[in-house]
Amino acid sequence: MTTRRQVLTQSAAILGAVSGGLILPANAQNAKIRVGLMLPYTGTFTQLGVACDNGFRMALEEKGNKLGGREIEYFKVDDESEPAKGVENANKLVQRDKVDVIIGTVHSGVQMGIHKVARETGVLSIIPNAGMHAATRALCAPNVFRTSFTNSQPTRALGKAMMDKGHKKAVWITWKYAAGDEAGEGFKEGYLAAGGTIVKELGLPFPNVEFQALLTEIASIKPDAVACFFSGGGASKFIRDYAAAGLAGKIPLYGSGFLTEGLLDDELAPSAQGIVTTLHYSTSLASKRNDAFRLAYAKMFKMQPDVYAVQGYDAGQLLLQGAAAVNGDLSNKKALYAAMENAVIDSPRGKWTMSKAHNPVQDIYLRVVKGKENVVLGVAAKALEDSGAGCKLG
């Protein structure tokens, strides 16, 4: 039999539970911010993933390991640079670990997976490397920010530098895959706008390194210069084959900075002398900010930083600024995104801002290989912005 008193106490209990539930967000305010790191910790891109991870943690450590006053808890997933597992791994972080933000990743194919999850769930996503256009062009999203580059950004600055040297006819060569095509698009726009002519576009399937026939063709065309996009092991192979084919020193070689970035060791350097590249950073960039960053990084990790570490570091700086503006309440999305959009990042590469499509507006440096360094010759393009074509943000 139900008495009036029982009804009352039960209702009170329910009310208590409900109001208890109501104060949950306030509890969450004091809980740790859950940061998901989805990066390659094994496989071809291990070094790049570790550098991004190091840079990111260093930025947060410098500010006492707190985001807007709240403690941080890290969740790590090794994405293995495996595009087939991209969605699954991103979902692991969002569904199982309930992270507030995903930092990742290096490989563009895997990024597509993260991007899909970010667009579906609305989780904050900061990209510390992958440069595929879609993320900040046709498929841009209010909750997705990039602290690196778009694939066409570095190569867009090449054209003017080449024309300044009087190289009016060029051959373009790259891997036939998304990143190569996008880099090619940037080169074409920049070079044609500067008045150059592309006499031939050559390509081979990724990650094929059988350059022989194409180098023979370049020798027969005898262009004023060659421009290319290659990275990692394939890049050093291309540089060595270019020299072995007798082209080095005869037909100047230009490229996106990834051609030489972090690859100039004793073995490769002799073949790479004089190669001119464009990139948004160089370890030899002379500035107080860069010197301080390099020193602190070397102290903390007992290794030298590279462009990937800088991009990870800036991902950390961006998140710090955003979180500070909302006092750690990452659920206040409108204010958070506005703060991140308007952020000015004091980066080792120089100050940069966010474009409306959430990609860095940054200086692109002109560098030449001298010894084992990418020596900075100057700024190839000031505050270069990606077109963001097809993005309806802002």
Partner: protein, 287 residues
């Protein structure tokens, strides 16, 4: 394209074609004689490349690594035939495809356990790390000429073995009509093991020879496997002469395609295959 450059591209084509031939010869023989569709053939190419990497690392010299690796590959091929493949000669093609498809994954996993998932490089031996000046802008790397020479030697050796020796006669007989050869007293069991081991060793040799010119990476066999099948199909299944002709043809089409019509390069070889199949459904050299 002037004559000099045309000749150099021809050289590139022949070199690529001969390398393909080393791979396809084993595949076509194994199919022709044992009737086994060996999807794992590309894995033997990968095995060779990784052997070159590992053995050069431990022995310090590619010229030592290659013979040692070749012997190792022969042994591996022999064992695989004895333990696994011989039980599948009379099975359905679907069973064979499942077996060899599964083997691809097993080899990839073993490779991952032994050598990891990273991209590796093998240095060109110092004695061959120089170039010959051909035109004022182009030099030809000496290692490529060495590779061309070795491939030629192997191709001639294989041709002599098959057309001039008793074993070769048995192999040809086996490829033509396995049952009849057996009825006439050919020890077909031993012949099978021999041909299989030879096929594995040739594929592995191709992998070892290309290692200093290419990077070594996981799953590198799969790309090559498709090309191998194209060569075998064009040449006619079971025909070594067909494989040689087809390999050189594919080399020419691929290299000149890359240079002359780069935007269609990746499909030209398949167009060639389609054309051959249209007019000669059994391949150029039908058994």
């Amino acid at each position: 394209m002037d004559l000099a450059n045309f000749l150099i591209q021809l050289l590139n084509s022949v070199q690529y074609g001969l390398l393909l031939f080393l791979l396809a010869a084993g595949l076509t023989l194994i199919f022709g004689i044992m009737g086994v569709v060996n999807l794992a053939h590309g894995s033997f190419y990968m095995l060779g490349a990784y052997l070159a990497y590992a053995l050069t690392g431990s022995m310090g010299n590619l010229f030592v690594a290659i013979p040692v690796g070749a012997v190792l590959s022969l042994v591996i091929g022999w064992l695989l035939e004895k333990i696994l493949f011989k039980h599948f000669y009379h099975r359905d093609h679907l069973d064979q495809v499942l077996l060899t498809f599964g083997l691809i994954y097993i080899f990839e996993e073993l490779r991952s356990m032994l050598w990891g998932d990273d991209v590796h490089n093998v240095a060109i031996p110092a004695s061959l790390d120089w170039s010959i000046k051909l035109t004022d802008t182009l030099s030809y790397p000496a290692y490529r000429l060495f590779l061309l020479g070795v491939c030629l030697l192997l191709a001639v050796g294989l041709w002599l073995l098959i057309s001039r020796t008793k074993i070769g006669m048995k192999i040809r007989a086996g490829a033509f009509n396995s049952d009849m050869a057996q009825a006439l007293g050919v020890n077909i069991v031993r012949l099978h093991a021999l041909v299989f081991a030879l096929g594995v060793a040739l594929a592995s040799l191709a992998g070892m020879l290309i290692a200093p010119l290419s990077s070594i990476y996981p799953n590198m066999g799969s790309q090559v496997l498709i090309m191998c099948f194209v060569v075998v199909v064009i040449g006619g299944i079971g025909s070594v002469r067909g494989a040689l002709t087809a390999a050189l043809l594919v080399g020419l089409v691929d290299i000149f395609g890359k240079v002359l019509v780069p935007q269609f390069a990746s499909m030209l070889v398949y167009v060639l295959m389609a054309l051959v199949l249209l007019y000669k459904p059994e391949g150029l050299f039908k058994q």
